[in-house]
């Protein structure tokens, strides 16, 4: 079966690639575009690790075919917070320029131990970012409901729930707890 030419916008930039009809958006992002932040676990819609924003809405990238994304706008975990200069090498090389900046949800997950192995984390961060965009001051019940579409096999969820509460604070302008690079002149 013929490949399709897929042109779309990913993290604000025009991208294109080839995909078989049956190639999911998640596989396309990972294998064709090299954006491996979108993780795949169950591949049938249950775990949420593949969550991306599709025209602004959080969706399962394993339940969309890449051909269906042609002409649409996708935001992956790589686009959730700007990471100028790529991976964070600051700890290894304090003089390196362009530490990747963390977005408020990422910062909150780090502060509150919202991750252990980190496999589920991209899906959680994308889902929580979309959730808080719509519900900026959630109750505890709303937080649990908002998290229900993502599975984590490590943390026991308490740290993740705390991270959502912390992200609410950070997004509303409270100061970040950790200031990374004070050793710089």
């Amino acid at each position: 079966m013929a490949d399709h030419d897929v042109a779309l916008t990913v993290n604000g930039e025009p991208r294109r690639g080839r995909a078989e009809a049956r190639t999911t958006l998640a596989d396309f992002l990972r294998d064709e575009l090299g954006l491996t932040g979108t993780h795949l676990a169950c591949e049938h819609g249950v775990c949420g690790s593949c969550t991306v924003l599709f025209d602004g809405d959080a969706v399962r990238a394993c339940l969309l075919f890449a051909v269906q994304a042609a002409g649409h706008e996708v935001v992956t975990i790589e686009g959730i917070a700007p990471a100028p200069g790529g991976p964070d090498r600051g700890a290894l090389d304090p003089g390196a320029p362009d530490r990747g900046a963390l977005g408020p949800v990422q910062q909150a997950f780090m502060e509150c131990h919202g991750l252990q192995c980190g496999f589920c984390t991209p899906g959680f961060v994308v889902s929580v970012s979309a959730f808080l965009d719509e519900c900026s001051d959630p109750t505890d019940a709303q937080i649990l409901d908002g998290l229900s579409g993502n599975l984590c096999r490590c943390t026991g969820y308490q740290g993740i729930v705390a991270a959502v509460r912390r992200a609410v604070e950070l997004r509303s302008g409270a100061l970040p707890a950790a200031e990374p690079s004070e050793s710089r002149p």
Partner: protein
Amino acid sequence: MKPAPFEYHSPATVAEALALLREHGDDAKPLAGGQSLVPMLALRLTRFAHLVDLNGVGALAGVELQPERLHIGSTTRQRVLERDATVAAAVPLLARAAPHIGHFQIRNRGTVGGSLAHADPASELPAVAVALDAELVVGERTVAARDFFTGTWTTTLADDELLTAAVFPVWSGDVRAAVHEVARRNGDFALAGAAIQVSVDDGRVARAAIALFGLDSTPVRALDAEAALVAGESLAAVAALAVRDVEPNDDIHATGAQRRRIGAAVVERALQEVCGG
């Protein structure tokens, strides 16, 4: 796992979509939100040589308030039901049911028509359609919801037909609705659930619609319970009547007896919510 290879079609009109379905017969399947079909393809529970994507058929999407009815195009996302003020005002039961469907990421993509056509016995929207006597528009013909669902994952839709819209009656007066269900985890399909809409006049229930899901292979309409509620019987009596005739089977999720007890409990909870007592 990955789906088996297929050919992808993206028609722009209903006529084009129907022509593709006619051409390829049972080798073709419509693709709406993909939230049920794609998992089944990925697990290789099913395979089709052709998928006909309905997402590019603009005419199928959208909600329109008409005199005394709400017309919902089949590819309208489930998320619209919970967000749209027109839906909440016109058919409160739809707005109450939607948040129970999976998770918000599922509802962002899953469609109203896909849920009805997929006809999972534990799904919320088929029960809402049966409770409210919705009319399901299948091209030229219109099917009453109670005749549309024929069994687990089975409807009267033929391979070359499309569900184009669902039309719900708009009740007048003081209309209240509630959906209660029990699921193992938040967002899972329900073990049993109840969808109830009433209109209240002068403190009394003047009109009632009650349907149960998860208790049989199709939604169960509880007509006797509705009559008892309007006649002023106790909520517990109405709940008992609602499950009187159901005999759910045992399965890996629950025994039939458990489902029946849960059914009565969720009917009573939903009644308490709408009757305020």
